[in-house]
Structures are given as structure tokens and as C-alpha cells.
Amino acid sequence: MSGVRVLVGTRKGAFILTSDGKREKWEVSGPHFAGWEMYHLKGSSADPNRIYASQTSGWFGQIIQRSDDGGKTWIQPGTPPGEPTTGPGGMPKGESNKFVYDISAETGKPLTTHQWYDGTQHSWEFKRVWHLEPSLTDPDTVYAGVEDAAIFRSTDGGKSWHEVSGLRGHDTGSRWQPGAGGMCLHTIILDPSDPGRIFIAISAAGAFRTDDAGKTWKPINRGLHSQYIPDPNAEVGHCVHHVAMHRARPKTLFMQKHWDVMRSDDAGDSWHEVSGNLPTDFGFVIDVHAHEPETIYVVPIKSDGEHFVPDGKLRVYRSRTGGNEWEALTKGLPQHDCYVNVLRDAMAVDSLDSCGIYFGTTGGQVYASANAGDTWAPIVRDLPAVLSVEVQTLP
């Protein structure tokens, strides 16, 4: 019988939640990497046993972990214990936690600087990996979205990483600036219909697209309107929180911006607002039903000053019309005295016949719905604050 594996990253470790296709009874494994911030875990769609994880610490920096057995055991792929540290030619083996920004081949200097909080120019400094996006076809190829904003690629299973520096070298780089959470590249979407097309999003620069596998990039922010920046319609500078796409319609994108829920039907070339009747259009997560490309989900958050759900009620909002018309989904979710947030990578959908939706909260709950959001139940209630939720649908 098919089943699901939910990968949960929290402030203090990772947890793996497994169930059969009914999604009623769950096994909880963890904490893995106890005490560390687990920003994101994601499995390869080409090999479900291959999972990548971003493990970070303010003390010890960035670690990349990899599992080849569905999360039972883990290795640091560049440096497994007990193996020689150099290859046959004497060169050091890959270092899986080494993320070094490209420099100019001509001058030997940094490619560019970005805008600091006070408006001055600031050098790029690597801090952590926010998001890992495995290739759709090759288990050994994986992308990493990092802070300060850049995209890296590994083609050797995470052993070594190389910047896809066409993005950061884009001529708008000097106008990017950090949001409150840092200047992070948090969203990577690979187009299943076009191997050369990748979408990414950065807080607070906006969304970008490449059509040539990362060599060149263009901002795709036309139609976004952000009152909090000097030019509300600027080419870059928008605080995009998350973007989602349905595999069957890769030109249709849905975006949760700092404020506003947006939609594009031309691969990001233009956007229009679909916030409609939402109680507030601030939020972080957005996702699309696995089988219904016009059914989308958000969790409205009160405001950028009050990062919790409005009115003490945890409500997922569903639109079956691709936006504008939204219904509150509340059955099984707390409807009083609830003040949690749901962070940008903390919602996922499975692809079982009856689509499952999952999300985690800063209060440590992970909720699941096995019927597309009609009813909900907590899988776990008392984890550390949830940073990310991904799900694998297992054969």
C-alpha cells in the first residue's frame, strides 16, 4: 500500500513522520540532529530514499546532511567519517558544507555588493542554506538557496557546491537588500516541462527566472506593488515570501508576497492580485492541490507587525478558482486562543488520490488533512517551532 513520509525541520532538530495511504496513524522518528536548526529537508523525486537536509547553527555554521535510506541514517556527503580526506590525485575531497561565492575572473574581486539595511553597499557573506531543491531527474543533482541570497548547485550528491553566479551577477544585485529575516533565497522551483527553466525568489529582491539553466536570469516582478519600498512598482526590491506551481501548468505561478496573494499565467512575466476576500493578505505559505491546478491554499497571518493568525483562529484558506474567491478551512484546527505563525516552507501536499495537505506551525504542531483540507488533525502537537514541512508520496 502506498504511503507518505513527512519531513519536518524545526528550530531544534528534524523529525520524520510516516503513515500509510490512509494517513490516520503515524510513526514519529526523531529528533534527528538534535539541538540544531534544521531549515529544510527535501527528498529526491528521482529516488525517494535520497533526502537532503540543511543543518545550521549560529555557533558552528552550515552542515549538509544526506540520507540514502529514506532518513534512517545520515552522512555528511563530502566528508564521511573514516574515509581518506583526499582523492586519488591528492586533491582534497569535496567539502559538503563549503559554500564560497564566485569572484570576478578578471579582477579577483567580489562579483558585486548588495544594499545593506542603511542603504550602503555591503559584501555578500554566506550564512546558511534556507532551501534545498533536488533535481527532478538526477538524485545527485541538487540546488541550494542560501543567505546572503545566491543559488548553488551540487552534481555529486552534495559533496561539493558551486555557485550559479549568473543570478547574483545580474545587474540588479546591487539593489537587493535583506528583509527582516535576512537576505535569503528561499524558493527554488524547477520547471518539469523545461530543464533549462528555474524560478527562484529572494527576500527582499523579488522573483527571478532563468531559461538557460542558470547562465542568465531576469527579474519577473512586473505587476507586484509594494508600498513599503521607494518605488512601489520597482523592478526589484519586493519581499516575495513564497511561490508555488502545479506540475501540469508550469506557466501558472502563485505567490504569497509580504502583503498580497498574486498570480501569473505567463511564467512570471506579469502578475495580478488574487487576494480577493481573504481576511488579510499577509502570509508566508502558499501551495497548490496535487490534482487540481486551480485549487490553492494559504494561511493568512495578521500583519507584518503581528506574525500570528488573526482573531486567535488557525484557518487555512482554499480557493478552487485560482484565487479571488476563498473559503476558510477550520474543521480540526484551533478556533480560539491560537497565536502561531506558519513559515514560508512549512506547507506541502502529497499526490495520493485524495490529496493530502500538511503544514507546521511555530507552536510545534504539524497538521494533516487527507481530504484536501476539508478536515484536519494534528500528527504531532509539541515539536520545537517548525521551520519547514515537505512530504514524499511513497509507492
Binding site: 558552528f60 567539502e95 558544507n97 564560497v100
Partner: protein
Amino acid sequence: MIRVVLPPHLRTLARVEGEVELNISGQATPRAILDALELRYPMLRGTIRDHATQERRPFLRFFACQEDLSHGLQDAPLPDAVLSGAEPFIILGAIAGG
């Protein structure tokens, strides 16, 4: 033989329990200890010193014989008590929290 005390999270990463014992050929200095440590436990590269700059990460300190060696020259000789193994070289994470 030089004894090295790692913070708990780095012991977990390196998959060791208790102290680490290192033999240093040549002059024993903080840099030589870290070089030897990372050679034996490559998974610790980047966790104590920044990958790119090789600078000590800001929330870590080096102590030995009740002295803070964090700001000293990384090529300075270590105290005799560390060289003899009587005292450990301690890599300590900053205490943070309320």
C-alpha cells in the same frame, strides 16, 4: 599527545565521545591542533574556522590552563601542560540564552 575537548554538538558531528587525543608533529600551536583535528575529522571543517577566511567562528573560544587563547597568535606555542597532556585544549561554544 594533546587532549582536545570539543563542544557537545561537534562531538556528535565527529561521532566521538569524550576527549579527542591528537599527536602533533612539529610545533604544537592552536593552528596545528585545528589542522590535525580537521584532518582526522573532516566533517568538522568549517565548523570551528570559517571555510573561506580560516578565522575562528565568532561564538567559539579556545581555552587552556585557565587562559583564553582565542585572541592570541594562532602560531604561538601552547603551554607545556597542554603539550604534555596534563591539561586539555578546550574549544568552547559561547553560552547563550536566558
